[in-house]
């Protein structure tokens, strides 16, 4: 019998926050998001809020499809819900504190890398996958810094990053 469970996460895209439920059947949410062979992500029970009024629920959809390339980032409260299968066995040894910007948000969090000599340019341009995983994240809304989101993991769309800074040196 196939084991399933549901993961609720926040999906941010183009000024909207969508709280939706991903039904985990064969693979975890992060594996689905990282998968370069699929373009869409299916969510159940999606609730839409504008990011400037994140607590206002402006629409409800029983079933939603997301174009993954249009996602800015995905935030899960619980770390285990945001890790790929391989990441759940162990992350990189070196922890870096990263600050980056995507549309509407400034995101800070920890990035784990295997190499001590981290080069952001090489990392962003050559590392596999269209998303990067940041741990212990705070995402602050650019236009209203009072609105911020915390999460165990943020899966950030690499193509939407406009500024990438490392604060640990």
């Amino acid at each position: 019998m196939q084991r399933t469970h549901k993961v609720t996460a926040d999906f941010f895209a183009q000024g909207y926050r969508v709280s939706g439920t991903y039904v985990v059947t064969r693979r975890a949410l992060a594996d689905e998001i990282y998968d370069p062979t699929t373009n869409y992500l299916q969510l159940e029970e999606a609730y839409l809020s504008p990011i400037m009024e994140p607590a206002k629920i402006s629409a409800y959809y029983a079933l939603t499809l997301f174009d993954k390339s249009n996602l800015d980032f995905v935030l899960t409260l619980d770390k285990k819900d945001g890790l790929r299968r391989d990441q759940s066995y162990g992350m990189g040894t070196y922890q870096l504190t990263i600050c980056l910007t995507v549309p509407f948000f400034e995101i800070t969090g920890s990035l784990y890398v295997a190499n001590k000599f981290f080069n952001p340019r090489i990392y962003l341009s050559s590392d596999a996958g269209i998303f990067i995983s940041l741990m212990d994240v705070t995402a602050r809304c650019t236009f209203n810094p009072d609105v911020s989101y915390q999460g165990g993991v943020a899966l950030v769309n690499r193509a939407h990053i406009s500024f990438f800074g490392e604060t640990t040196g």
């Binding site: 609720t8 439920t21 609730y47 994140p54 607590a55 629920i57 911020s148 915390q150």
Partner: protein, 362 residues
């Protein structure tokens, strides 16, 4: 045993919570799968506590909470928002809608049962004994002697009946400093764990004065929100007749909640032009509370003062008490003692006693 209403569109969650609350909590549970149905059930038989999901098709959990709060039959029930939306903005929205507590799914059952018990206990405590008074001492302008007056007023009232002095400073508490105390227990610990009984955090000063101090270090705790402050004060009024609150110079939603809850508000003005201007603005802001205001002028330094008549004319309100500069306060404060406990006949203490008299006779 309490009557609990659960409103959640997720049938599995609903059945699981119902079973657990009935078996473990021994509560009588009504379960509804949408907001409208939940509202109808609540209006028909108001529960003691409602557990409300946020993300439901149709009426959202926030709408349900707002409607429960706006109906006289259900406005006072305990409400816990139980949602997968676990961000601080979601917590703020839940509190703004009128919830008592916000919990993130998947819920820790022990924690949920504790929250239900806390709400039930708090509701019992919400009915204060007759004659209980919450007395904030307040000024939007700092440096006018609010803490000194609060400490001495609490000391005078302590001689009449059980009194607690609460230091609500959001950054670093001044009462502990003035009283030479270490804030080993403080309200920050209540914010960390909302199931902590507030009276267990009350510390006794050498003079017998009971104090609920502010956290000793700035930045470690946020300023308590409206709900936390209301609950703290409600719990304290269950054990003390007078709760004197040393208010910070702020007029945000938390401060307003304290002022709304207050039986009398002691507004403190200084002598300088800025203090008087600030007091005028404060009086305009607190128009709705004007019947409960006691306006006091307090001199915090030596030297000439503008005549009381001129100040009253500027403020367009009579000064209830006018306190002259008291040099004894400086020497006694350095020893960590309230002036009222050691020198009962100095100008400051005489003024404070006059305030106490007004509080008791008005």
């Amino acid at each position: 045993m309490a009557k609990v209403l659960i409103i959640d569109d997720n049938y599995d969650m609903l059945s699981m919570l119902k079973m657990i609350l009935e078996r473990q909590g021994k509560h009588e549970v009504t379960a509804c799968t949408d907001g409208q149905e939940g509202l109808a059930a609540a209006y028909k038989a108001p529960p003691d506590v409602a557990l409300v999901d946020v993300m439901m098709p149709g009426l959202s959990g926030y709408d349900v909470v707002k409607q429960l709060r706006s109906n006289p039959r259900t406005e006072k029930i305990g409400i816990i928002i139980l949602t997968a939306r676990g961000q601080s903005v979601d917590r703020d929205a839940a509190m703004a809608a009128g919830a008592d507590e916000h919990m993130t799914k998947p819920a820790n059952i022990e924690e949920l049962l504790k929250h239900i018990d806390t709400i039930l206990e708090r509701d019992k405590a919400k009915t204060p004994p007759a004659g209980t008074m919450i007395l904030p001492v307040f000024s939007i302008k700092g440096g006018v002697g609010v803490t000194t007056l609060a400490i001495n007023l609490a000391t005078v009232l302590q001689q009449i009946a059980s009194t607690v002095l609460v230091d609500l400073a959001p950054t670093i508490g001044q009462c502990a400093f003035f009283l030479g105390m270490r804030a080993e227990k403080h309200w920050g610990q209540y914010l960390e764990n909302r199931t902590t009984p507030v009276d267990s955090l009350v510390q006794k000063h050498a003079t017998g004065l009971q104090t609920l101090l502010a956290p000793p270090l700035p930045g470690q705790h946020s300023w308590p929100n409206t709900d936390a402050t209301t609950t703290m004060l409600a719990q304290l009024t269950a054990t003390a007749r007078f709760v004197v609150v040393d208010m910070p110079p702020l007029l945000d939603s938390t401060a307003q909640a304290v002022l709304t809850q207050a039986h009398r508000i002691l507004l403190v003005s200084g002598d300088d032009a800025l203090a008087i201007q600030v007091m005028r603005a404060t009086l305009q802001t607190l128009q709705e509370q004007k019947d409960r205001l006691i306006v006091v002028r307090n001199a915090t330094g030596p030297g000439p003062r503008p005549p009381a008549e001129a100040v009253q004319k500027a403020l367009r309100i009579p000064l209830a008490v006018d306190i002259a500069y008291d040099p004894a306060q400086v020497t006694v404060a350095a020893k960590g003692l309230p002036l009222a406990a050691v020198q009962p006949k100095t100008p400051l203490v005489i003024g404070v006693k006059r305030i106490a008299q007004l509080l008791l006779t008005r």
